[in-house]
Amino acid sequence: MTYARTVGHRGATAAVLVVGGGALATATWIGGEHGLALGLVGFYALATLAAFFWSGRDGDVAAIMRVGGDERQRRLDLEATAYAGLAMAVAAIVGAVVSAARHHGDVGAWGVVCAVGGVAYVVSLGVLKRRG
């Protein structure tokens, strides 16, 4: 184990926003909602600029946004990701239950999300256990 600090890249979070926002805006445009697509482009452009400038600051959040930082900052990122995943899992399970009640037992897309989350957890646990 090492405690070495990694610098990361200032454009890491900005790149995620460009790719994700670009994909969403393109899909919205293809879906025929041109006004909304242009609005999304503007929103994600501003978010990308904000992320790029924030990533250059000295602080825990900036280090995490650069996908860098030291052991404590990486642990913060990991725990925040775990809590976010827990919140998403609860939302997906509640969505599946509500969907089953409303649509004669059909859990719909919520069921797929739950299955992906459950399988990913089991596989990750197995791999991480082997690593020690």
Binding site: D58, D60, D70, E71, Q73
Partner: protein, 92 residues
């Protein structure tokens, strides 16, 4: 109090006891702030020497974060002392 200003004493207690209790639980105090002050280093300078952020040094000194064993060893070696001299377990 500025970021580089050391606190008095040997730092706050870092509680290792989980909420449900543990018969092997104990507290860990540390002397990082004291040793850093004697060495005439700011938190940022110590962080740079050790390769961690100023915020992490601050968290360690205030007992909010327990460093990994490699980082604890690096801290101790930086001050030419042992880990047990920097990190003191209480209530074992």
């Amino acid at each position: 109090m500025g970021w580089g200003t050391p606190r008095k004493g040997i730092g706050w207690k870092a509680r290792l006891t989980p909420p449900w209790g543990d018969k092997h639980a104990f507290h860990v105090k540390n002397r990082v702030s004291e040793l850093r002050t004697v060495a005439g280093l700011s938190q940022g300078e110590l962080g740079k020497v050790l390769g961690v952020s100023r915020q992490t040094i601050n968290s360690i000194e205030n007992g909010r974060y327990l460093p990994s064993l490699p980082l604890a060893l690096a801290i101790a070696r930086n001050f030419d002392t042992s880990v047990e001299d920097v990190f003191i377990a209480e209530g074992e």
